[in-house]
Symmetry: C2
DNA sequence: TTAAGTGCAAAATCTTTGCAAATGT
DNA sequence: ACATTTGCAAAGATTTTGCACTTAA
């Protein structure tokens, strides 16, 4: 288990189970948004589908991960930054979804200013996705 | 059939079928992003599920609709503006997804400048979604 | 007339729920 | 020891595919 995974689980008061450790280590090692089907395949069916869904949901509720809705057909999850908690998220950066390889990465270098909303609308978090051809697939 | 629906179908060289007319009229009359399940319910099962999916896909490919990926569990579709075509989209406005009523509306008044991307990334279109509580649900 | 669109049956894929067994603290 | 987490079975929901029938132009 990586130090970062241990620290994240500890600081969010989560039990250190094998599934959580493996999922978190994988996401830390692969800096992009990951879906349950990808995880299941990557961890070669070491854990049940349901366990992975529940792990991703728990991590999202506790503020370790945030959902990234691209149009790939399944929900993806990416690591939160330090300022996130269970009540508030700060993901005002851009995500890039490649329509060729279907990968979605966080583009931390491109921040989007949270826009002012019309009266009556209150936003908790934002989902900014650019769709196109990524670096790797363009070649 | 509304004049706008007729004009949109004609200008995109699509045949005037009952399903297409009803779907397009509904979307024109309800200015928000709509999913297949919502459509099926709204049109009281007048058309088969598969027909609705194929209609939405055709409209998206031809540039009448654009996909809006919120995290509601099903893909939603909203009317394109005039500058869209089958090759390029221009939806640099914000969408608002209400986590209470699950409705997603286009906030045309809030434009987001398409950000400059890192070298090698090429974007066709953007999906900007704010999640929170909408006007109607806040009361 | 004929290419395109639709309905039905079936299947593939994604996601959730309930409950008993296993596990972390 | 006990609350939490996991696995399995099952079901629900979304989306796609194949093929015969129907329909717009």
């Amino acid at each position: 288990m990586s130090k970062r995974a241990l620290s994240l689980l500890k600081s969010h008061e989560l039990r250190l189970t094998d599934a959580r450790i493996d999922v978190l280590d994988f996401i830390i090692d692969h800096p992009r948004a990951i879906s349950q089907p990808e995880l299941e395949h990557a961890l070669v069916h070491k854990y049940d589908r349901v366990t992975l869904y529940r792990t991703l949901n728990t991590f999202t509720e506790k503020g370790l991960l945030h959902q990234v809705a691209d149009n790939s057909g399944s929900m993806k999850y990416a690591l939160c930054n330090e300022q996130c908690n269970e009540h508030e998220h700060h993901h005002e950066h851009l995500h890039f979804h490649c329509i060729r390889c279907q990968e979605t990465v966080c583009i931390d270098s491109v921040m989007i200013a949270p826009p002012a909303l019309p009266a009556g609308f209150q936003a908790n978090d934002f989902n900014f996705v650019a769709n196109g051809i990524c670096q790797k697939c363009a070649q």
